[in-house]
């Protein structure tokens, strides 16, 4: 059995495990049982392990420099979000966060499954360790922002429940406001520098590879916009002392804005990143 075939099997197992854990998380929210969310966390951890091995196979299998397939790229997104979530989850024990983040992970997996296996993503002239660092760090940074926004969304829900003076089952299932605010803060604090280094790696590579014209590329402009938005959010938090509800609201709004902008750039404009 070749490594590609083995990788395919591992991807399929990870896909099924992701589907099961997403269903488990959502069901736990529906029937308000934390035990189910705990089980789903372990299932997601297993999916993460399979995905890790799958990605390792892809790296070993690729000839020469870092050479991602389009499926691997989306798997890497799912892997990164789940990795960041699991790391945070084991630290903060806020399992219900999974109900919000696992659908995002599963969506990445569906998108990855829709891609042709083995199709090379990056043109040969873009394959270098700098693009590898750029891809890896940017995805990790974005994953942290996704998590910050999910925590923000949960904060808004919990805040609404507590303001309405209802200590419902849902409220009991969701983490405390303080914990959610802390997750939002940790994700911003780590996400921003990681994204910054990722963007910087991309910039250095672009300067050497494309030399001119890349600064006006729509995707790069939006990436800068996102970088500035998250940077200003972190600034507001650290310098001005924004926290709690306002921070949650702005994080969510920033995420929705960047998500929509990514979609519009992806489908409406021609960019230097068209291969993604």
């Amino acid at each position: 059995m070749t490594l590609i075939n083995l990788g395919m099997i591992l991807f399929k197992i990870a896909f099924i495990l992701c589907a099961v854990s997403t269903a488990g998380y959502l069901l736990s929210l529906l029937i308000k049982k934390i035990k189910l969310a705990k089980m789903s966390t372990w299932i997601l951890s297993a999916a993460f392990c399979f995905l890790t091995i799958n990605l390792l196979f892809s790296v070993i299998n690729s000839s020469g420099m870092f050479n991602l397939g389009s499926r691997d790229f989306l798997s890497l997104c799912a892997w990164s979000v789940s990795g960041v979530y699991l790391a945070l989850q084991f630290k903060t024990k806020t399992r219900s966060l999974g109900a919000f983040i696992s659908p995002v992970i599963f969506l990445f997996m569906i998108a990855a499954a829709g891609q042709q296996a083995g199709k090379i993503l990056l043109p040969a002239n873009l394959q270098s360790w700098l693009t590898a660092a750029h891809v890896f760090l940017t995805i990790t940074g974005e994953s942290l922002f996704i998590l910050a926004s999910c925590a923000g969304a949960m904060f808004i829900i919990q805040n609404g429940l507590l303001k309405n003076k209802k200590l419902s089952k849902m409220s009991r299932l969701l983490p405390s406001l303080n914990d959610l605010d802390r997750i939002n803060y940790i994700c911003l604090l780590w996400g921003f520098p990681v994204l910054s280094v990722g963007v910087l790696a991309g910039m250095v590579f672009a300067e050497f590879s494309w030399q001119a014209g890349w600064l006006t590329d729509p995707k790069i402009i939006w990436t800068f916009a996102g970088w500035i938005i998250y940077g200003s959010l972190l600034h507001q938090r650290l310098a001005i002392g924004w926290r709690g509800y306002r921070m949650a609201l702005v994080s969510c709004a920033a995420f929705i804005l960047l998500f929509l902008s990514y979609g519009s750039v992806r489908f409406c404009f021609s960019t230097l990143h068209n291969f993604i």
Binding site: L162, K165, L167, R172, S176, N178, R182, R243, G244
Partner: protein
């Protein structure tokens, strides 16, 4: 036979309960004295804040119950006539069900409270230490602990708080997660505020500041918590420090207004603020609730949460009763099995005696055989007898687990003339 004699908050006034409680406390070696009563075998004495109960394994129901009741009544100086209307008594299945319900907190004043199981365990520990229990009560108590554990883990009967102060603690945890390092500001020195503050401190809150119109009274309360006492003039400054504010003054106007909170919002660095207003008339302006990161609950809001939680407990109690019923059936089945045990033992010893006697008679002619053949004959006899006995013993065990085994036990005893 198991009997239970006792009195609780539903059957006896606090005055009677107090007298009996004090009387029983003064009795030296109460368990030994109870065991010395006529017909009482095993015994356990349970005393909680609102009940006194004696559980005993007795030979005969009537006399033993009267003896137990009169003993407890006499200890408290209550006349038998007075005692007759205060005491309840249960026997066998009813007694088992009652003690299971008590241990599971289904019979408590506040249904689902967790303290009672500890008290039942303590009572059992004492009885064990004094060798007052035997096979029947030991099994009964272990089964009651299992029933209580199942009720707690399989139902949500003890999950949600049913007192205003605990509801406040739960809310604080939903806002802050951990209460470690949180500062509490008590405005006014009311009893309810003090109790809530105490619960918050025992759940990890760091310190208490007491603000009161009269500094001396604030000082008295602050001393209890090793906290800080301030006058109402420095309230604004203390609101900046506080994370949880409990207000219970008798002031006719609002003491904490939305404007005050708005003005200190920045200096508080937008930290989350939990306001509990248990004063009547209210101390905190209701519109403060709409401020960002401010969570205001008044006494009615807290009471609504408590009522809702109580409803949940009532619903869960139906499931809890079913669990208790399952455990009662399990225990009763075991007890019925126990009824057939002496008969099985008698049957076996009688057959052994017969074999022994017949083998002794056969010693003369068996001498002609060698030792090996003698052993073979011995084994053959035992094997035949065991096979013959297998069915009656199995039926005795099976029948006793299903329904009352008394008839079949009687039949076996008569058929095999076990009673001589």
């Amino acid at each position: 036979m198991i009997v239970l004699v006792g009195l609780n908050h539903k059957t006896a006034s606090i005055a009677v309960r107090e007298k009996i409680f004090a009387g029983c406390q003064q009795e030296k070696d109460i368990l030994a004295r109870l065991r010395s009563l006529n017909g009482v075998g095993e015994v356990l004495y349970l005393s909680t804040c609102n009940r006194i109960e004696i559980i005993a394994s007795v030979e005969e129901h009537g006399k033993a119950v009267i003896a137990l009741r009169d003993f407890v009544a006499a200890s408290g100086g209550v006349t038998p006539n007075e005692a007759a209307c205060c005491f309840y008594e249960y026997r066998n299945e009813e007694a088992v069900r009652h003690i299971f319900r008590v241990a599971s907190s289904l019979d408590s004043m506040v249904m689902g409270e967790t303290q009672v199981l500890g008290q039942v365990k303590d009572a059992y520990r004492q009885a064990l230490a004094q060798y007052a229990t035997g096979v029947v009560l030991n099994r009964l108590m272990h089964c009651s602990f299992r029933a209580a554990k199942r009720v707690r883990t399989e139902t949500a009967i003890a999950v949600n708080p049913v007192s205003v102060s605990y509801a406040a603690v739960e809310l604080a945890k939903k806002i802050f997660g951990s209460l470690d390092g949180k500062k509490i500001l008590l405005i006014g020195a009311g009893e309810m505020a003090e109790l809530t503050g105490m619960h918050l401190i025992s759940n990890g809150a760091e310190s208490i500041i007491v603000a009161n119109r009269t500094l001396a009274q604030a000082g008295l309360l602050a001393e209890k918590f090793h906290g800080e006492a301030v006058s109402l003039d420095s309230l604004d400054a203390k609101l900046i420090e506080a994370d949880i504010v409990i207000s219970s003054t008798g002031a006719p106007d609002f003491i904490v207004t939305a404007d005050i909170l708005k003005s200190i919002h920045h200096r508080r660095k937008n930290r989350l603020l939990f306001l509990i207003d248990i004063a009547m008339p209210r101390d905190i302006e209701p519109s403060a609730s709409s401020l960002e990161n401010v969570y205001l609950y008044n006494i009615d809001d807290l009471q609504d949460i408590v009522d809702e939680n109580m409803n949940v407990r009532r619903k869960e109690a139906v499931r809890a009763e079913m669990i208790v019923e399952e455990e009662v059936t399990r225990y009763i089945n075991w007890q019925k099995e126990l009824e057939s045990v002496p008969t099985i033992i008698s049957l076996r010893s009688k057959t052994e005696e017969i074999i022994k006697a017949e083998m002794e008679k056969a010693v003369g002619w068996m001498q002609n055989f060698n030792k090996e053949d003698q052993e073979r004959i011995d084994n053959l006899v035992n094997s035949i007898v065991n096979k013959v006995l297998h069915s009656p013993v199995a039926v005795l065990k099976e029948e006793s687990a299903e329904f009352s085994s008394r008839d079949i036990v009687d039949a076996v005893r008569r058929l095999f003339r076990l009673d001589g």
